[in-house]
Symmetry: C2
Subunit: 207 residues, 2 copies
């Protein structure tokens, strides 16, 4: 491995880790294997990351950022279609890393406080992304719960769908987009925001 700055070397190792951890169960990714594939000594890997668990957490931080980027809604256009584009990005990202995502969400690798806080931060970032679309409504607890409910629903359905594959992908995306519309419509009915239009009502008949 050629000489690199500390930052570049760490980034390179994290890229390698993301690849390994997305393909293999946590237990099967050994420090030896990471060091071998990176062409560095185990000592140097410990020097950079302290250990396998810390290395995993560093990789997870980067994966979480990329997931949030991947789930960005389309920059313009119809709100429902924009949200659908964001959902597709979310699903693309986790579907390509299904074993790692399911292991993480199922607690199979032994969730700890640090991992839990990355998950919680990611949910927060995804919620805020939807809330910023809502203008004045975004600060209202009823609307915030509507969005958080949808984040919880999406997480749960994604986990179940990756496990059972019991719906066509398009049907899952439609279901989740419709549920977002319904959840926001209910918020608008329960806590109307003056001067703000009711979100597009949900329902497959609209597509």
């Amino acid at each position: 491995m050629s000489r690199l700055t500390t930052t570049a070397r760490r980034a390179q190792l994290v890229d390698l880790g993301l690849d390994l951890f997305s393909r293999l169960p946590y237990e099967d990714v050994s420090i030896e294997r990471i060091a071998d594939e990176a062409g560095i000594s185990r000592g140097l890997l410990y020097h950079y990351f302290g250990g396998k668990r810390t290395f995993y957490v560093a990789c997870l931080e980067v994966a979480a950022e990329r997931l949030v980027e991947a789930a960005a809604p389309a920059p313009s256009g119809d709100p429902v279609l924009r949200a659908r584009a964001g959902l597709e990005g979310w699903l693309d990202y986790v579907e390509g890393r299904a074993p790692a995502f399911l292991a993480l969400m199922g607690g199979g690798i032994g969730t700890d406080t640090e991992v839990a806080s990355i998950l919680e931060r990611t949910r927060g970032a995804l919620s805020e992304r939807v809330l910023t679309e809502l203008g004045d409504a975004a600060t209202r607890p009823r609307w915030r719960h509507a969005v958080r409910a949808w984040i919880g629903a999406t997480e749960r359905c994604t986990i179940d769908w990756l496990t059972a594959r019991d719906l066509p992908r398009e049907a899952l995306l439609d279901a989740l987009v419709d549920l977002l519309g319904a959840s926001l419509t209910l918020a608008a009915l329960a806590d109307p925001v003056p001067g703000s239009a009711l979100p597009t009502p949900p329902g497959p008949e609209l597509r």
Copy 2:
């Protein structure tokens, strides 16, 4: 402590554990304390449960069963009101044990495979309870996802609400009942079940 059968002694210890773990963080519940409060030796506690972690898991199993019982819908009456009664039972149960519930769901006590599988089984039992109300629709993937989405939404909103207490309790219950109605309505629109009535459409105007 008087002489008891093994089963009765274990049940008595689990009751004590449920009380301790629902009031105190996991780290603050020591084997010494459990043994002291039970009036037995540490050795006997190890004999029954093997260790603190195993004891915690045994308590969690029982707590999960009680939660599922507590969340039972009202036995008869209007479907929306029946579902609301189940939700109130759910909220009563977790609200009375909020620190323990939040620590568990936040992974703060170090989630492991066994804990994760109890959580997953509990979600399954709660979903099945809703699905049994749906007759022929219960086996259809689109409907199953509608119910699982709602379970995910309820879990997420409960966690957030217990932390932030940013809505009146009644408003949270209304929001979640309405969302169940909406989620089922969307399933009925996307995958109509012949001969089955559309669920009551959601919306605060209906209450």
